[in-house]
Symmetry: C2
């Protein structure tokens, strides 16, 4: 009888165990790896973590603790938490090595249900939390699904101005005389696609621009060296639509079009099917400080990239996404990272700036059934707030160690509370420096700013 | 009317164009990349190539020429022919960088059919040749499909003697006290699997051993860092079968077993389904010289690895392979590579040794409907034959440049014509050195030994 009771209990427990898939994304260098490392670290310490006052289940003692358990999808690379902690706890401390592909990790959270059916049945309950990390660049590819190769080419042509045109110069020169209707030559395509990919890399690395398409070209993962990542847009406007539609099947144009279609069908759709559609909640990390530092081109580009990225969460009843993949995300948190790199008095501005960046796109679109919130945070605090005396005035400042090893007390400047205009860029009042993580004892949770607020929004209601 | 005729012609042509998928494999360092580079090079020059006397379609002038065309499977990395040629034609010349995963390339061969239905219909015909390159190590995993995790563990236990035991020492020490029935700990598994993987790497790199399982552990490709490559065999024989069969689901044993099953089901089967079952003809490259140099352990290990590898071609009517994947390979060529690293008088011995290595496994098995042949060849000739005078006697010798840059005239020794016994190993009469490729003009086909013989066996009948 006791045995039967145990069995029933087990079945009931299993039935009531909950799963949640939290996806973390952001454009390169937004701080995904640091965020996930800290999030896991806070949760692993959650039983006794005094640093989570804004995370109700931890503050109220409902959350009993967390531990790492084997992940569900065995073919997906594991998020390397140990490597991250090792880097942060080394001497001198360093930032974790960024991930470049999808990775995941699973935590088991034990909690005491405060009410509801779980409370009646047992004392403790379990939430399995899958944390999935993927590059934000992959989301920039969604619009491709509703564009033909010719339409996509026209879109790319329209942005080849100013700095982008400079960076694309070599590629543009070499394709200027190209006959798209001539027979395709493998070597030529490889060479020209290489130049196009170089241009995309330069956009990111030299100009701090984020909006690059196709997104996989800069983060190829398993497709490195495969023809599906070897094509480029047609930027000549000399070709008529009828000439293109009757292009011979072995022409350069037809080959490019075929690869573009294959890219959409396999690379883009596969990501949405296999990863995106499984996600319950999403956090999007945004580094607003670097673009503020880099100038108006970089800032406006990030804004455009964010708008594109948000299309992935815009699944109105009849939207393409809904039809194709039935996504189920019900909450998104947008987080301005690296808040510790500005003085605390600037944090409200950071949030307000992020809201401005997001809200316009948000309000004009059909984000049905998705709840959204903005926060500013620091995944792993690298500076301490302080003060400096300047001409008899006491000003807020930051104290930290630069990545070069130099100790520094500085005032980085004011974050604009609204989208910055001409005057902000002309005065260039902002100086953003990279600090290294602070050293700390390895048995204590990592210092952070408002990770607990993020946890509350993303997990709080699931631990009741 | 002319138009209709053209259309009909096109349809007929398309219907008669032929495809052939040729797979090239071999254990690491067997010379796959050099072989494929040379094969492509010879075919690209085939219209006027005077170096292919043994390849009938080239000698008789039926083969009009070849060119590279876009490959069929867009998500598979392309074989980088240009990089290979660039390395070989650099000054000083160097060997192409080896591939580490699957890659492919497609050639279009135009030929003049000499007879048969093609001859009646048109003057020229086309054969599309897909050349696919995959690591031979992947074939070593086939036997896993018919073994349970416990059976596979027992097999691994049985080989942990001598040198292997030494190389595995750290891993063996750390698992000696391991309780396989205790609850699994992610970090511990990652650490111990890492040690096991290190042992496999050491087998290959330090001891020149080839038989390592699971094969993907040493060449992970897209699975790098994924849990499916994080398990290891149970080598303790203390656990009874009944204890194991009732192991709790969250125990170390159950987790390992789950990963092993996942590995078989997804990694191993996927390779056979997606790649192997599409192959029409196969060439297996074997470097017999390095193991002859390294000693009896290395040689016997290679022999064992070859026997395992040959199981993939053993698809009798009721075999596992036939049932699972319906392979269609009808010809296999086994090629002893690096023939230019011994004097020409030793080439017959090289073939005879390879036949001995292969034939035993061949004759005891059911290789129904597959034709097999052995050859010795040099993909890219790195030495020239010469003579030395030694005590009044004229001896055959090799002239070449060692990888260190030193010019060398040497006699490497005799290759045993039969599987070498005690006396061979005791006299150690063989000295194998690595030569660098010879420089040559870039507009001429690469020098080789008997690539044309290989082409004749693999392609000759398809170009009639």
């Amino acid at each position: 009888m006791e045995k039967v009771k145990n069995k029933v209990n087990k079945l009931v427990n299993r039935g009531l165990d909950r799963h949640m898939r939290l996806a973390v994304t952001g454009l390169s260098r937004a701080g995904k790896t640091a965020f996930i490392t800290s999030l896991i670290n806070q949760l692993l310490h959650s039983g006794t973590n005094p640093r989570l006052p804004l995370f109700t289940p931890a503050r109220e003692g409902q959350l009993l603790g967390a531990r790492r358990v084997p992940q569900g999808q065995l073919h997906i690379p594991s998020f390397d938490y140990d490597q991250g902690i090792h880097a942060l706890r080394s001497s001198p401390p360093s930032w974790p090595v960024p991930t470049r592909d999808v990775s995941e990790i699973r935590l088991e959270l034990r909690y005491r249900p405060e009410s509801g059916p779980l409370r009646l049945l047992k004392d403790t309950a379990t939430l399995y939390l899958d944390i999935v990390d993927y590059p934000g660049e992959w989301l920039l590819d969604l619009p491709l699904l509703s564009m033909s190769f010719v339409e996509w080419s026209a879109k790319q042509r329209s942005v080849l101005n100013g700095r982008r045109r400079e960076l694309a110069e070599q590629w543009l020169t070499e394709i200027s005389e190209l006959d798209m209707l001539a027979e395709a030559d493998e070597r030529q395509i490889k060479h020209l696609s290489g130049l196009y990919t170089e241009y995309l890399h330069k956009c990111k690395d030299e100009a701090g621009l984020h909006w690059v398409q196709p997104g996989r070209f800069v983060l190829p993962g398993e497709y490195a060296g495969a023809p599906v990542l070897e094509f480029f847009p047609i930027v000549s406007d000399k070709l008529s639509e009828s000439a293109l539609s009757s292009a011979p099947p072995n022409s350069l144009f037809s080959l490019m079009k075929k690869r573009y279609d294959y890219y959409c069908e396999h690379v883009v759709k596969d990501f949405y099917k296999e990863h995106f559609s499984q996600v319950d909640r999403q956090i999007v990390l945004v580094d607003t400080l670097q673009p503020l530092n880099a100038g108006p081109d970089s800032f406006n580009d990030m804004r455009q990239a964010l708008e594109q990225l948000m299309q992935s969460f815009r699944y109105g009843k009849s939207g393409l996404l809904r039809r194709l993949f039935s996504p189920r995300i019900d909450r998104i948190l947008f987080a301005a990272t690296k808040a510790d790199h500005v003085t605390p008095d600037q944090h409200p501005n950071l949030v307000s700036l992020l809201q401005q960046l997001i809200h316009e796109a948000w309000q004009t679109a059909a984000f049905e059934g998705i709840d959204m919130e903005c926060v500013s945070l620091s995944s792993i605090q690298a500076t301490e707030p302080g003060n400096v005396d300047h001409k008899g005035e006491t000003l807020p400042a930051l104290r930290g160690t630069l990545e070069s090893g130099e100790a520094m007390l500085m005032y980085p400047g004011e974050v604009p509370a609204r989208l910055p205009g001409e005057s902000f860029w002309q005065s260039q009042g902002f100086e953003f420096r990279q600090f290294r993580p602070m050293p700390g004892p390895s048995d204590e949770p990592l210092p952070h700013i408002r990770i607990d607020k993020a946890l509350q929004y993303l997990l709080g209601d699931k631990l009741k």
